[in-house]
């Protein structure tokens, strides 16, 4: 029953009377904090935080997934840094993050602006959101139908006189194709979020712009961008986190519909991690795989923190 003493110590009676009402609310909030946040926090700690520390621990070992673990210090990390395939995979992750990310944001923002005063915008919004609803696996299968040597693309090109069409699915072309597919899949999603931000700008700002004789660029620069900046920030963090996790589309795109390991040119850090632990064709290296995962997590954390810093602006209330 010692708990009863705790709320008392910080109870509103000790504070000045005018703050009593607000203080009581704050006090109630404080008391509800534990029952409301506690379970979620507990689950989060048990299911996410503890495993992260577990992963860090495993990453300092040599371990085949079962059986004995042997301490290997930072050997796994040293191996990763020395492995050109890991560097290449990390490079691909960064390509997805920045190249695809910038393409998505430019397109989404442009679409959000165009759709703002377009007729039938609700229908258009649903249509451009649709690719995001389709499972990535579908694109993996579809790409075979379209780009196989006897596929749709070449069948269309043939009557047009193209006798030597590009080798669409050659290993070196797969990653660019994956990048294009990611843009196609994700643009609608961010357009929808950005449109919500753009829509919330009250019309009188635009009227003001019209009265002041501002052109479209000035309107964008001085009204739309500042007022949607916080939405941008959230989207950037969302994309950073989700781009680092991209996995299944690469697995299916280049891996003969999942029967083998995709070609190394298309690996991202996530695929590298998976192959190291679960390819099934060789003795699993859980230590090296967790090291790769921990390094990726570290990278994401740094990027998110940096991004938040760069994107930080005072939120404009309106």
């Amino acid at each position: 029953m010692t708990t009863t003493a705790l709320p008392r110590a910080s109870s509103p009676e000790t504070r000045s009377t005018p703050a009593r009402r607000g203080g009581s609310l704050a006090d109630q909030r404080r008391r509800l904090f534990v029952p409301f946040v506690g379970p979620a926090l507990l689950l989060y700690v048990v299911l996410f935080v503890v495993p992260i520390f577990g992963a860090v621990w495993i990453s300092f070992h040599k371990w085949a997934g079962s059986g004995p673990m042997t301490w290997s210090g930072i050997d796994n990390y040293r191996g990763l840094v020395a492995d050109p395939l890991f560097r290449q995979s990390l490079g691909n992750t960064l390509k997805l993050l920045f190249v695809v990310g910038i393409a998505i944001f430019v397109l989404s923002f442009a679409m959000a602006l165009v759709l703002r005063d377009m007729a039938g915008r609700k229908i258009v919004r649903s249509v451009i959101f649709f690719p995001h609803l389709v499972n990535a696996l579908v694109y993996g299968i579809l790409v075979g139908f379209i780009f196989n040597p006897d596929g749709l693309a070449n069948s269309i090109l043939k009557p047009l006189g193209v006798d030597a069409p590009p080798q669409w699915l050659a290993q070196d072309n797969l990653f660019p194709l994956i990048m294009v597919t990611m843009v196609w899949m994700t643009t609608g999603y961010y357009t929808t979020i950005l449109m919500a931000g753009v829509d919330r700008i009250p019309p009188y700002y635009y009227e003001d712009c019209a009265l002041a004789g501002a052109n479209a660029w000035q309107r964008l620069r001085h009204v739309i961008l500042p007022l949607t900046w916080d939405v941008f920030g959230v989207c950037a963090v969302l994309w950073t986190i989700s781009s680092v996790k991209i996995f299944e589309i690469i697995w299916i795109f280049g891996a003969s519909n999942g029967t083998g390991v995709p070609p190394a040119q298309t690996w991202t850090a996530a695929v590298y991690t998976y192959v190291t632990a679960f390819s099934g064709d060789s003795i699993p290296a859980y230590g090296a795989a967790t090291a790769s995962a921990v390094l990726s997590l570290f990278l994401v954390t740094v990027l998110v923190v940096l991004l938040r810093r760069v994107m930080r602006r005072d939120v404009i209330e309106f």
């Binding site: 509800l32 379970p39 085949a64 079962s66 080798q167 290993q171 679960f278 099934g280 060789s282 090296a288």
Partner: protein, 435 residues
């Protein structure tokens, strides 16, 4: 005040309740295994529901359940069953029986000594003989399915081999007079090409299939064990062996000769295999599962014929990968699981595997499907055997060292010399990170 005390109590109780629920949920998964009686066991199968081999296994399970009055809790997991097994081995909820090919079973179970010695299964009487005697010893000359103490950790029930496949209805001459040497093989390819037929189909996006060419070529040059020796050389000097370069040159010869089907570098499996089954190419080098896998889309009147991969010298070993059962050490119903493993070697199920599932049963007296008659005859007459890629399974070696470089060779991006020097460098770097 009373209400506040009540609320505080309520909140502590709630928090405690949630904590207890979470704790229960977390430990709950380990409880079920302990409750199992001795009269049932769990089997994680590499086969998926509906596959021909799965149907044969399901029949055997039904018979075994009836005869022994037990319940087999089977999960038709498909080919990733062993990848799922590895993390499960760290819990108390472990299946009693799993199956898979040696190449996947060894890394998942045997390398870490997590598989049980199957002495009991080998001693179980099947059709009047101990099960162990039904497994032809000559197949296991170069596949070590035993622990150092002599206990076998795997009970094979099937063989997987490979061959060069063709449509015997279209090319009856290959059935009567197949090419035996490399020279005859190249001559055949040239003849096919001259006749306007695409010589060889290949799905170049499957790294394992691509590597089968170089791998088999090395084994043809230097015999079983050569690829293992090559891959395990930490100094990389083994790559300087002229025989290795010669093996790579022969792959290059196929690529540069333009014998492969157009677009094999840029297609998705099984596009080229489908083309082959519809007479889009004459030959395809593939595993013994070819007739089962491509029967559904093969052209009307297609007749599966095959001949062994040509020889390049005196070595002529045949691929014989064994596929079978294993029991994890942690299994709670290991005895029953071993009994069933042996039971499946019964003639009835071995015959059904051969005739209905069109697989190669491990028992040499079992029925074989007509499509596999050539492969079976070759295996029976062979003097030596090897595994796919010679059983090389060092952590990450196949995926990160061999496949990326071999793909470049097979897809025509680099020459044989470049391949050998890249492999040498990559292998030296690989072994440095493994110490």
């Amino acid at each position: 005040m009373a209400t506040r005390v009540g609320r505080a109590r309520w909140s502590t109780r709630l928090a405690a309740g949630v904590a207890a629920a979470v704790a229960l949920a977390l430990t709950g998964c380990s409880g079920s295994a302990a409750e199992q009686s001795g009269k049932e066991f769990t089997y994680w199968s590499m086969w998926k529901s509906g596959e021909p081999q799965q149907k044969v296994l399901a029949d055997a399970i039904a018979d075994f359940e009836q005869q022994h009055n037990v319940k087999i809790k089977v999960q038709w997991q498909g080919r990733t069953n062993l990848q799922k097994l590895v993390p499960a081995l760290n819990t108390n909820d472990v299946p009693d029986l799993v199956d898979g090919p040696y190449l996947k079973m060894y890394p998942a179970l045997a390398a870490t000594k997590q598989a049980l010695g199957l002495g009991e299964a080998y001693a179980t009487q099947v059709d009047g003989k101990p099960a162990g005697e039904l497994i032809p010893a000559k197949l296991l000359q170069n596949i070590n399915i035993k622990y150092p103490d002599g206990q076998p950790w795997m009970l094979p029930y099937q063989i997987q081999s490979d061959a060069v496949w063709f449509n015997a209805a279209k090319h009856p001459e290959l059935k009567t007079n197949p090419p035996k040497t490399w020279g005859e093989f190249i001559a055949l390819l040239d003849r096919l090409k001259a006749a306007g037929e695409t010589p060889i189909a290949a799905d170049g996006d499957v790294a394992g299939y691509n590597a089968a060419y170089f791998g088999t070529m090395v084994l043809r040059e230097s015999g079983p064990g050569a690829l293992m020796k090559l891959a395990s050389d930490k100094s990389g000097a083994a790559w300087d062996d002229p025989a290795v370069l010669d093996a790579a040159k022969k792959v290059e010869q196929l690529v540069k000769g333009g014998y492969f089907i157009k677009g094999y570098q840029a297609s998705k499996f099984p596009a080229q295999q489908q083309k082959w089954a519809n007479n889009g190419a004459a030959l395809m080098f593939m595993g013994s599962w070819m007739p089962t896998e491509s029967a559904s889309y093969a052209a009307a009147g297609f007749e599966f014929g095959s001949f062994p991969f040509p020889t390049t010298g005196s070595q002529d070993s045949q691929r014989a990968d064994v596929l079978g059962f294993a029991v994890p050490k942690k299994a709670k119903n290991a005895k029953l699981a071993q009994e069933f493993a042996a039971f499946f070697l019964g003639k009835k199920y071995q015959d059904a595997s051969g005739a209905e599932a069109k697989m190669l049963p491990i028992r040499s007296d079992a029925t074989t499907a007509p499509e596999l008659a050539d492969v079976k005859a070759t295996l029976d007459n062979a003097s030596a055997y090897h595994q796919q890629l010679d059983g090389v399974a060092f952590p990450g070696y196949n995926e990160k060292v061999l496949s990326p470089n071999d793909d470049e060779l097979f897809l025509g991006k680099i020459s044989a010399e470049q391949f050998v020097s890249k492999m040498k460098a990559a292998q030296i770097a690989y072994w440095k990170t493994q110490n």
